[in-house]
Symmetry: C2
Subunit: 322 residues, 2 copies
């Protein structure tokens, strides 16, 4: 049996590294959401994490674990947005250089925030250019350590600390919904859930337009697709990673998809009832929980709110355009 | 010396009554807000309270303390909105009738929510009709207990539980900013702060357009003004109450005002950085803290976020109209 990229101890170690640096984010409740599903829903508010998304956890953990010489030389990352800010801030906290390769159609708020953390931003076209190749070329030319957004054990372990905190705060859950792009958050969270509460049903949620992970889980091998067109820009990934997929295959119970229309409904609900501004990707778990509806009756259900970085005009347009 | 309407023990008793019924709301942080003031800011998230505002605390406490016969007969309240929902839900939780007298220009979301909790809603014109007279006439005609929005010891004690929770969670504070309309929340919070941390500076915040409380504190007597025109609809009160004013005079250090423009800035900040949708009145404390700016450097500062009930279109218009 091949050893998987991470185990619970890796997440626990990451959690110690993040203590006092990452926010211990709150768990939110909604009587209305509970009433509509018959479940008790625990929303883990990672949109209130530093940089506005769980990505800070993995990014900081990965930068922490670089060798001293590499820490001095600097880091590079390619990202649809939140990972970019995570690496930019993590580099700044370690007093080192960060170069970030971002898609040119990334939300303006994310590009501005990344520059605001002192990172150098290099833009590319996500529909025609290969960000990985571009990132690797830059890394080699300038001696920078490439920190990928999900397919890295230290990143995966860091993301898992979000689930560890949730279980630490609320105890056992029957079901846990986790947004899914490249699988960093899902693999980390599933590792925690499987170790702590083996009976907890772990469900990854991806956009209907890009169900590569669902196909991968069914076929038992990584399926690649064209970059999907969805409002969930954080989940516009063509494939799972060769490190995240084996963890997901082993530890995740199911992968479901939700439509963009359901994402918008979930965003509007979170805004009007929970007063929270959540980006579309961040609402994947919410939308899936509402889609499951009465199937969750009587259950204790965790829902990862993964990020909140969306321009306010775009937020207003999506929510009011319904 | 005249005894004041409430003391710390009243708040502590209210807190026991609310346990497991009101939400223990989280305390939010923002590295950006801290950096801009040099202070450590603790945002008490009462917009995440049941009914979306701290008002549930006082309303539920007051309904709980009615005699059994009165509980069976029902209650009546007049309110610019959040108190209405608070009484409607409190009545439903006690299995009794609620009649709510609301201004006809109250936010639609508040009228709908009040009806949604099963209350009967009676509308009036806040610029020409006397809501107190209307409320008293209805109460007498139908044998209902009138629960005023702030000028009542049980309401004041209930509101104070928000500050008690904040201190329970974060310990001593140098300064506490509290939104101020009729003074229910401020009198309750000041009572807690004065008893627990006598050195904590307690600052009430009201809209510039309606600084009756500031005038009252300076003159040493209740000053009444015409209903102020401000976006802070929860603070459109003409005067403090004869129960809240003595508590405020005795226990509050200062009352400051903020402009509507500052409120909008605060709302936009809370939306873009903290991902929170806060109604204008709910941002009074935030705006005052930012206005104080560097004067708070090095301090531990509590900020009450009092409510989040605002129609999303109005929220978007205010925040984008800047």
């Amino acid at each position: 049996m091949t050893r998987l990229a991470i185990d619970y101890d890796d997440v626990a170690a990451a959690h110690r590294r993040l203590e006092g640096i990452a926010h211990h984010t709150p768990v939110l409740h909604s009587t209305t959401a509970d009433a509509s599903t018959g479940a008790r829903l625990y929303f883990k508010a990672e949109h209130l994490q530093r940089v506005g998304a769980f990505k800070f956890r993995g990014g900081y953990n990965a930068v922490s674990l670089l060798g001293e010489a590499q820490k001095r030389a600097g880091v590079i990352a390619f990202s649809s947005g939140n990972h970019a800010q995570a690496i930019a801030l993590s580099a700044r906290l370690h007093g080192t250089r960060a170069v970030i390769v971002m898609p040119e159609d990334a939300p303006e708020i994310k590009i501005a925030a990344t520059r605001g953390y002192g990172a150098e931003v290099v833009l590319y076209d996500r529909y025609t250019q290969d960000r990985e190749a571009l990132g690797r070329a830059l890394a080699e030319a300038e001696g920078l350590a490439l920190i990928p957004p999900y397919n890295h054990p230290h990143v995966m372990a860091g993301q898992g600390t979000a689930a560890k905190e949730l279980f630490d705060d609320v105890g056992e859950l029957d079901t846990l919904f986790v947004p899914l792009g490249g699988g960093g958050l899902l693999s980390g969270c599933a590792t925690v859930a499987r170790a702590r509460y083996p009976g907890c049903r772990i469900i990854g949620v991806e956009p209907e337009a890009g169900n590569d992970a669902q196909q991968s889980l069914r076929r038992g091998e990584i399926v690649s697709i064209a970059t999907p067109h969805t409002i969930a820009d954080g989940a516009q990934t063509p494939a799972l990673g060769d490190l995240t997929f084996p963890v997901i295959r082993e530890r995740v119970d199911d992968i479901v998809t939700v439509s963009d229309a359901r994402l918008v409904e979930a965003m509007a609900f979170m805004a009007s009832r929970l007063k929270q501004i959540i980006e579309p990707t961040g609402c994947l778990g919410v939308a899936a929980a509402f889609q499951a509806g009465e199937k969750l009756a009587g259950h204790r259900v965790g829902v990862m709110l993964s990020g909140g970085n969306i321009d306010l005009p775009r937020f207003a347009a999506l929510v009011h355009g319904r």
